[in-house]
Symmetry: C2
Subunit: 402 residues, 2 copies
């Protein structure tokens, strides 16, 4: 029996009219799918309101209480949707994270999914009901409520789809798919009909923000076809699949930009083993996620190491590096917040040489200075001044996509 | 170890400032009590908002979904209070109905408490925490969420206090106690320092609305001292106890008035056994709660039966009686919505004769016509015209209380 999991974000259930819109979508989908699971986020604004309340009452609200507080948003949205489906003659039942069998680790506010206990969902699906699962939440081994972190409803949808071997998982959002670049920067940007998991992973983590990277990773692991599409129109969206089907993929599929980056440089470090390890060990211990890392060629046994981190963490990271520096002796720490990271991504790069050269010369022709370079098998990222970033995206989009 | 259960209603946690007010009360209470359980309702207005949403989406929302929807309100209030207590340096944990071990029957939207499984609460109390329990909710044997009906948070508080053998249960509300009459009608009305369970039961079910009758009943069953007091001032409130302590209780403790009553009369019924049974059987089957029942002395083997019901149900009750009447033949059904029920209540009536006579003569002196009379061991109720009801309350309050 065919099974689809459809996930609707907060803007798709923001008010009663939008909830009625979801009912219409589910009603239509019943002619194509034998079994349907709907995963919902909290009504737009509700989670932020509850977070604001909690922070007004406490500078550091306890994680366990935050989880119990925030899961209410998704519970409300899922019951309301079940009520609306039932009123439209579609048998439906809403299930909380615990009832839906989503078991997680105990780490509050950012729990990882441990396993899915599918008995209850299967019973309801087999009874002919549309199951409406509250996203973003689960329970730990002691039956304590947990949440999966921001964007966690995507993860709920993908995890349920993987566990129940759904035919596909559809993420409804306020954009109509994944684009070759941000259409606000590049008006010519095109919606991609298909993209590979690998490419989507690079785009998601490089700032495309359409899909949470953890969810793409999980879908890839289970070879689960994932679709990103608009909740508000009938477009086909973008299909994310194990491998692009074209025999010759284009070298570059998309161009992304992340302006929320800061660059930290530790200059004139003695170039001997163990120093980088000590530095990054300190950062990891304080949960600072390092994005790009570039080490310059050493001169006179001294070397420069530059890293980029999310701007929110830049000050904290700088402080840690200054403290570490005391043990190296004599190095200089500098921080630069006026940067952006621009990346080109495409599985085709694997087999096509010269992409890097084309990136550099295209940017040079437009007199855009490159401050750092980092490459992976399927992406090339450059750090540029923030003032140059939008132009860099346009130049690279024109160069590779048109 | 001493234990108190304190219940705060929706107006007492209506906003963040009020929640901080509850924190102060709990903080003060810690010097008098070794263990504290706080039960909270949803923030004022939240439950009504969710009900409005559900009814906008469906003419008849499914009970199971309503319960899942509405329990969120109390969960939010209890987590926020736990966060605020913790921020004030008071170790606290919030528990949902299920976590607090409140097991109910499966009847959604009006479940009865079946038993309390106290292990988790005891563990948290023994660990030195203030337990904040979400009111109004429980789980049934299948772990489905249930609600206890309107006013159910009082019941949560009393049930927990009874099961854990608390020293007392305090109900914080927006009035500062139980009065000898409604102070809006009788400016001289006095707050009672003590009242017996029996008297409170009569007053609660006769329309005093301070405490839900089911909660008083449960507290009486377990001899649990219950206090009604203001959430907004420091008054002592009213203590509700097994028996009034005075050796000679006054005949009348309070005067109450219920204007939401309608009178239904079936006239000229053949006076033979079984007819009343058939009529009330029909009403009970349709869940119509009958309040007063008066059958007149029969003449020529014909009799009149008058009943009063809540005005909300009057039309439905009339319809049922008209249908039943077809099988009796020849009787007339009439309905009168312009009535009110005024009652005097007091355990002392048991031993003092002549209270009824004083009621009737006091009303007669003020030319208030009595339409129906009904008595119990500790109360006398009369039905009068609505226009006369407030005056009747004042006259009777003056006659018996002063």
């Amino acid at each position: 029996m065919s099974l689809v999991v459809k996930k609707f974000g907060g803007t798709s259930v923001a008010n009663l009219d939008k909830i009625r819109g979801v009912v219409k979508r589910v009603s239509t989908a019943r002619s194509s799918w034998e079994r349907i699971i709907v995963v919902v986020s909290a009504m737009a604004g509700e989670t932020d309101k509850l977070i604001r309340f909690a922070h007004a009452l406490s500078p550091q609200p306890v994680g366990r209480e935050m989880d119990l507080l925030l899961t209410s948003g998704e519970r409300i949205a899922s019951s309301l949707l079940a009520i609306a489906l039932d009123a439209a003659g579609i048998p439906a039942i809403s299930l909380t994270g615990g009832q839906a069998g989503i078991l997680t680790e105990g780490a509050h506010t950012r729990a990882r999914v441990r396993s899915i206990r599918p008995a209850r969902i299967l019973k309801e699906l087999n009874g002919g009901k549309v199951v409406v699962a509250a996203g973003f939440q689960g329970v730990d081994e002691f039956d304590e409520e947990t949440t999966l972190g921001r964007g966690g409803s995507d993860l709920t949808a993908v995890a349920l789809a993987a566990a129940l071997e759904a035919d596909r998982c559809e993420i409804y959002t306020d954009v109509d798919g994944v684009y070759t670049a941000d259409p606000r920067i590049v008006p010519d940007a095109k919606r991609m009909e298909q993209i590979s998991f690998e490419e989507m992973m690079e785009l998601a983590s490089l700032g495309a923000k359409v899909l949470q990277a953890r969810s793409v990773d999980l879908a890839a692991k289970y070879d689960l076809p994932l679709v990103v599409r608009s909740a508000f129109d009938e477009g086909e969206g973008t299909l994310i699949i194990p491998e692009s089907t074209g025999i010759e993929s284009p070298a570059v599929r998309g161009v992304s930009c992340d302006s929320k980056q800061s660059k930290l440089t530790i200059s004139a470090v003695p170039d001997r083993p163990g120093i980088a390890a000590a530095l990054f060990g300190q950062l990891a211990e304080k949960s600072i996620m390092v994005d790009m890392i570039v080490q310059n060629v050493s001169e006179n046994s001294l070397t420069d190491i530059s890293i980029t981190v999310n701007s929110d963490m830049a000050q904290h990271a700088e402080q840690i590096m200054v403290e570490s520096n005391e043990s190296f002796g004599g190095a200089t720490i500098s921080r630069d917040d006026d940067i952006a990271k621009v990346s080109v991504v495409g599985v085709g790069m694997k087999s096509q040489a010269g992409v890097a050269a084309r990136v550099f010369s295209a940017l040079a022709r437009s007199r855009i200075n490159i401050m750092m370079i980092s490459t992976s098998e399927i992406s090339i990222s450059v750090v540029v001044r923030q003032a140059d970033s939008e132009n860099a995206v346009r130049v690279l989009h024109k160069e590779f996509i048109g």
